[in-house]
């Protein structure tokens, strides 16, 4: 068990592209930590740098109290589960799980006993003699986990281990993974591009873009209070509606429409001059729709209706701007009908011209 600490860590590729840019980060002992971001955001580079598979250009990296910046990956006592699992195709399940112990020169009988024990704990009974090609995707993923567990590491590193599974299996494996991590209590860093996965699994999430952390916080933080428009757009199964506009007389103006300012930024924004460019953000789940006029609501024609299962995603046009609302499945509007949308002012957000969230009490915190 160990914490992980990076100090001003930079990984620069030949040609000057920075995979990780001056990054300082603390991961607590026993924490389930997710690195979330689009492809090319540097999340995998950071993970591989922690593993030692990428060299560090500048800065320091600690695992526990050890400075491992220049340490060989094989001596960091970390275990990694790869996206393709990296199970050795010529070895049986038992040989695969026992391989880390073989490298550590554990006695043969001992290592197969450990392998069997680990396999049992991960419900792999009866599969010990099979080759990877004879296993299903879910089983392969569990063998890769078992191999990582058997090496008894200080840190687990997961590189999108669920992305090769089909949707149904992925949910199952997700729950399994969370249980396993709770039980073992091993510090875990998990890379994913799937925000739902990160929200579901992690104790804390670092959302990355361009080699930097855009926001660091609990799933609740990043969902409720995204630090900037990038995070706001990235998190949530239905993307947040972001409306560019201006401040006008203590209200938010876009086109002909006016909206009340969000509660959390009302005081700050009211103090700013009219015409200041801002972005108004509201999650479709927090916008209510009605067919009758209501005070503060904006009216527009329904353009698209998408079925999400128990609910509907309704897109309403205001000039060129589409605003989306999630409504109950019983309230399906006609295409072209005029509806009234009213965002919940306690859940709506306001971002300044740079895209940073505005809040009355504390300035939004970007990065960690």
């Amino acid at each position: 068990m160990a914490s992980i600490r990076t100090v001003k860590l930079t990984k620069e590729y030949p040609g000057g592209v920075k995979g990780v840019d001056d990054l300082t980060l603390d991961i607590v002992d026993g924490e389930f930590f997710a690195l979330l971001g689009p492809s090319g955001s540097g999340k995998t580079t950071l993970l591989r740098t922690i593993a030692g598979l990428e060299s560090v250009t500048a800065g320091q990296l600690f695992i526990g109290s050890r400075d491992v910046t220049q340490l060989d990956p094989g001596r960091r006592n970390v275990a990694m589960v790869f996206q393709d699992y990296a199970l050795f195709p010529h070895m049986s399940t038992a040989d695969n799980i026992a391989y880390p112990l073989k490298v550590k020169k554990v006695h043969k009988a001992q290592r197969y006993a450990t392998a069997e024990e680990t396999a049992d704990a991960l419900s792999l009974q009866g599969l010990l003699g099979r080759r990877p090609s004879q296993l299903s995707g879910g089983q392969q993923q569990r063998v890769a986990l078992a191999r990582a567990v058997a090496s008894n590491p200080d840190v687990f590193l997961f590189d999108e281990p669920l992305s090769n599974l089909d949707a149904r299996l992925r949910l199952e494996a997700r729950t399994f993974l969370k249980q396993l991590q709770r039980r073992l209590g091993v510090t875990t860093v998990f890379v994913t591009h799937d925000q739902a996965e990160a929200l579901a699994l992690a104790d804390r999430i670092a959302i990355m873009d361009k080699g930097r952390i855009q926001q660091l916080g609990t799933p609740r933080d990043v969902f409720r209070a995204p630090a900037n428009t990038f995070v706001a757009a990235f998190i949530g199964s239905v993307p947040m509606t972001l409306i560019p506009g201006t401040l006008a007389g203590g209200r938010f103006a876009f086109g002909e429409e006016r909206l009340e300012l969000p509660d959390e930024a009302a005081t700050t924004a009211a103090a700013m001059p009219d015409g200041t460019a801002v972005t108004y953000g509201a999650r479709p789940e927090y916008i209510s729709m009605s067919s009758d006029s209501r005070p503060g609501a904006i009216a527009g024609p329904v353009q698209v209706v998408e079925h999400l299962g128990a609910s509907l995603l309704v897109s309403v046009a205001f000039g060129d701007q589409l605003v989306q609302a999630v409504v109950d499945e019983d309230h399906e509007p006609e295409i072209g009908a005029t509806v009234y949308l009213l965002p919940n002012p306690r859940r709506a957000l306001l971002f300044d011209a740079e895209g940073t969230r505005m809040a009355d009490d504390a300035p939004a915190e970007a990065g960690g």
Binding site: Y13, L53, E54, S55, T57, P73
Partner: protein, 293 residues
């Protein structure tokens, strides 16, 4: 930087060099060195035996002058050219392509049998295949004379060039057949379909769809079999050392340098051959590079 990118096993440059060294050393000593040595040997009057063996003298370009004015060398080069044109460019290419083309349209068992025998000719060790043809061409008991009713024809003596051209076509057709088979397989069926729907007959299909598509394969095949045929030693096994009328470059070098013992002269001819090889190979590698950018 501690690790190179892509160096996934943490080999490191020094160890990588150490790994590569044994192979590179063997290639360096037994492939590069001989090639460089020809440059030097070709400038001397080195001989296998006698005084010039112990104390070779530098004769500069005498060997090259001798070679280029020697009618035996020019004869061997001319015969080699005919041999390459006859057995590789015409024989192997034509047979190989026709086989690949026709066998597409033949039932599987027949196709497998034909392919088996074509490949067999290619695989049988060269000293066996040359004996098989030696027997086939035999003047008194040869199967060829029995079959054609040409009793008493000494094919290897009366028609030496024809004999080795046919022999080498027989040996080498398999490669062209395999290459053209995979080339024809890579022509998208949809293009043939649409040509056929537009009313194109087999000739028009070949000209308009297939040849443009496999042009690079044709080039590759032509250059490779040219290179190999130019260097092939096997006809010597069939014709033997005495038959000068079928002597091609390989046999000529062997006779000059190792039988007569004029190593310096032989080296000069070797170099001429290596230069010709180099030209063919460079053209080939250029074509290859254009194909895979």
């Amino acid at each position: 930087m501690k690790h190179d990118d892509g160096d996934v096993a943490g080999l490191g440059r020094p160890r990588a060099v150490a790994f590569a060294l044994p192979a590179l050393a063997i290639i360096g000593v037994f492939l590069f060195l001989p090639a460089l040595w020809t440059l030097w040997l070709g400038l001397t009057n080195y001989r296998l035996t006698g005084t010039a063996a112990a104390h070779p003298k530098v004769v500069w370009f005498d060997n090259y002058r001798t070679a280029l004015t020697d009618h035996e060398f020019r004869g061997a080069l001319w015969r080699t050219t005919l041999f390459v044109i006859g057995s590789a460019l015409i024989g192997q290419s034509l047979f190989g392509f026709s086989l690949a083309w026709v066998l597409q349209r033949v039932r599987k068992p027949i196709r497998s049998v034909v392919e088996f025998f074509v490949l067999l000719a290619w695989i049988v060790p060269s000293s066996v295949s040359s004996f098989l043809w030696f027997a086939l061409y035999d003047r008194r008991n040869g199967t060829l004379n029995a079959l054609l009713g040409t009793k008493g024809t000494a094919w290897l003596i009366q028609y030496p060039m024809w004999s080795i051209v046919v022999f080498n076509t027989w040996v080498g057709t398999a490669f062209s057949m395999l290459l053209y088979r995979s080339a024809l397989g890579s022509v998208p069926p949809s293009q043939l379909e649409s040509a056929r729907l537009a009313g194109a007959g087999p000739g028009a299909q070949l000209r308009d769809v297939i040849f443009p598509h496999i042009r690079s394969h044709i080039l590759t095949n032509t250059l490779l079999i040219t290179l190999w045929t130019f260097n092939v030693f096997t006809p010597y096994l069939l014709t033997g050392p005495a038959n000068r009328k079928a002597e091609i470059m390989a046999g000529y070098i062997y006779r000059t340098s190792l039988r007569v013992g004029e190593l310096g002269q032989g080296a000069a001819i070797s170099l001429i051959m290596i230069v010709i090889n180099l030209i063919i190979a460079l053209v080939y590698l250029r074509v290859l590079r254009e194909r895979t950018p």
